[in-house]
């Protein structure tokens, strides 16, 4: 069944069932909510950043469809050790690569919610600083 099956292949479902880095940080540098109002998807992204803007720790929580939650989980595995400005430069191709599958236009906003919330967190942190 091709492309669509890939969207729900075992790796993604596994991240959905047991998301990585799920929960709260003890003392996050920044914590931000992201929402897809049209779907009701919700992600809270928490980052620990050092003074240089290096991400030292990350956690997320939320609810929503498998695609939004699995994408966020996959993303959080990649964040530690990255610099804030690297994250800002990422876009949908990066998320597609993480998911290993093209997501069609009707679900792309689900797939991008984790990244967009992280970027919003970084922007908020910058504005504070």
């Amino acid at each position: 069944m091709g492309g669509m099956d890939d969207l729900y292949r075992e790796q993604i479902l596994e991240h959905h069932r047991t998301p990585h880095n799920f929960g709260q940080l003890a003392e996050p540098t920044i914590s931000v909510d992201g929402r897809n109002p049209s779907c009701g998807d919700l992600i809270t992204m928490q980052l620990q950043l050092d003074a240089e803007g290096l991400i030292t720790d990350v956690a997320f929580s939320g609810r929503g469809c498998a695609i939004s939650q699995a994408s966020a989980s996959l993303l959080t595995d990649e964040l530690r050790g990255k610099r804030a400005e690297e994250i800002t430069a990422l876009g949908s191709p990066y998320v597609m690569e993480l998911l290993g599958v093209e997501v069609g236009p009707s679900r792309i906003h689900c797939a991008l919610l984790g990244l967009e919330t992280t970027q919003k967190a970084i922007a908020t942190w910058r504005n504070k600083a």
């Binding site: 669509m4 099956d5 969207l7 479902l13 049209s38 009701g40 998807d41 695609i67």
Partner: protein, 418 residues
């Protein structure tokens, strides 16, 4: 009627399907099982042909031309208004043709509302309203400092608790605005029962008929409504088009909210007087093609028979309600248990499979359902749901469509349960 019916007089959906060319297409290479008619109905070829025919043989600016073609266009436009009015059982002179139900509901809230509501007045709506019958009331009540109050829903099934109405009428709402049929719950409001209660309490009844007019017989005078709004595209006409019926004296008292050509009597540099009747609310060039499409859709619906459509849809919904729990055991079904109490649709949620994932998985089998809040976020919030899946049926819905639906639901369950 035999074109669309069994010898026994029931709708034969396989015959009806043939009237809708899109149902034989294969979007994404898959046969189409369209179960999203509550979002927009499919268009029968008869409607598309009526539009083409108008545009290619009678197209001109209605109300303006002092020439034969202009007269033809005017006759087509006003004839289509009259046809639609007859379909709904109201006089043509009381049926305002607008761009959509959204426009119609905004007209009620902003024209009638601004003129008649003031500080402390109460507007009553249900917690299940579509945004189009909610936000305009939020806006006008905020502007004039009136109160917006709610007929609550059951926390579990979402059903509107109509028995609370009597108590709420003690607030003496100036207007009660409700959907005729909820586009999430599929339940019909007991209009004939609540209208006299509301009137006795001194209020008006505004009805959002979007989900009713195509799926059941609707004769507006029988509902007791004072305003009744509907959308053309939910009836198989074009996206553009919708109407507002209102009692003549209400129309007379109301001010237009849109001004321009065609709705005036006399215009001077610094002031203008407006036309009378429905014309006052129809600023700009009339949407003749949209209105002709609407009349053709009324003809087609009446050809199928509104009783027959309703009966067919109930049969389809019975099967949905019966088999859904088998296919997806954790499904939480909103609205009435009995298909006979439903009009056109079933919404449900599942903890196992999120509605959006369900829609994507169903799409693999060509099954088109809607996932989301269906423009009723507050209702979803009351139910602590972020999204539901909605299956809606139509005269062209077949058992094959439902077979594909249930196969898809079993796919989803398999994927998420492994």
């Amino acid at each position: 009627m035999s074109d669309w019916h069994t010898p026994g007089g029931q709708l034969d959906p396989l015959k009806v399907r043939a009237a809708y060319p899109i149902l034989s297409t294969t979007p994404g290479g898959r046969p189409l099982h369209y179960l999203d008619s509550a979002a927009t109905a499919q268009r029968p070829k008869a409607v598309v042909d009526a539009v083409s025919n108008f545009l290619l043989t009678a197209n001109a600016n209605p109300h303006r031309g002092a020439y034969t073609l202009g007269g033809d266009a005017t006759a087509a436009y006003e004839g289509a208004r009259a046809r639609t009015a007859a379909f709904l059982g109201v006089p043509a002179e009381e049926l305002v043709m607008l761009g959509s139900a959204t426009e119609a509901l905004n007209l009620v809230a902003r024209s009638w509302g601004r003129a008649n509501l003031s500080r402390g007045d109460v507007v009553l709506v249900t917690e299940a309203e579509h945004h189009a019958n909610l936000i305009p009331w939020q806006q006008v009540t905020r502007e004039v400092d009136a109160d917006l109050e709610f007929i609550p829903v059951d926390d579990v099934t979402g059903e509107i608790l109509w028995d609370r109405l009597e108590g709420l009428l003690k607030l003496r709402p100036k207007i009660v605005a409700v959907g005729h049929v909820s586009n999430v719950l599929g339940s019909a409001a007991p209009l004939a029962q609540i209208a006299p209660q509301i009137h006795a309490a001194g209020g008006l009844l505004a009805v959002d008929g979007c989900q009713a007019v195509a799926n059941m017989p609707v004769n507006i005078p029988d509902t007791g409504a004072d305003f009744y709004a509907f959308s053309a595209h939910k009836m198989g006409a074009l996206f553009s088009g919708g109407g507002l019926w209102a009692r003549a004296h209400l129309l007379n008292e109301m001010n237009p909210i849109e001004t321009g050509g065609d709705m005036i009597r006399e215009v001077r540099l610094r002031d203008a007087t407006f036309a009378e009747g429905t014309q006052k609310f129809e600023a700009g060039t009339p949407d003749a093609s949209g209105t002709v499409a609407l009349a053709a859709a009324c003809d087609f619906i009446d050809d199928l028979g509104r009783e027959q459509i309703h009966a067919h849809e109930v049969r389809m919904l019975e099967r949905v309600l019966r088999e859904l729990p088998e296919a997806l055991p954790d499904a939480r079904i909103l609205g009435p248990r009995d298909a006979k109490d439903r009009i056109g649709l079933v919404s449900f949620s599942s903890d196992l499979v999120h509605a959006h994932d369900l829609a994507t998985i169903l799409d693999r089998r060509g099954v088109a359902i809607r996932a989301g809040h269906h423009c009723a976020m507050p209702l979803h919030e009351q139910l602590e749901l972020s999204a539901t899946a909605r299956v809606s049926v139509a005269p062209y819905t077949t058992d094959e469509d439902l077979d594909a639906l249930f196969d898809g639901l079993r796919d989803a369950r398999k994927i998420f349960a492994r």
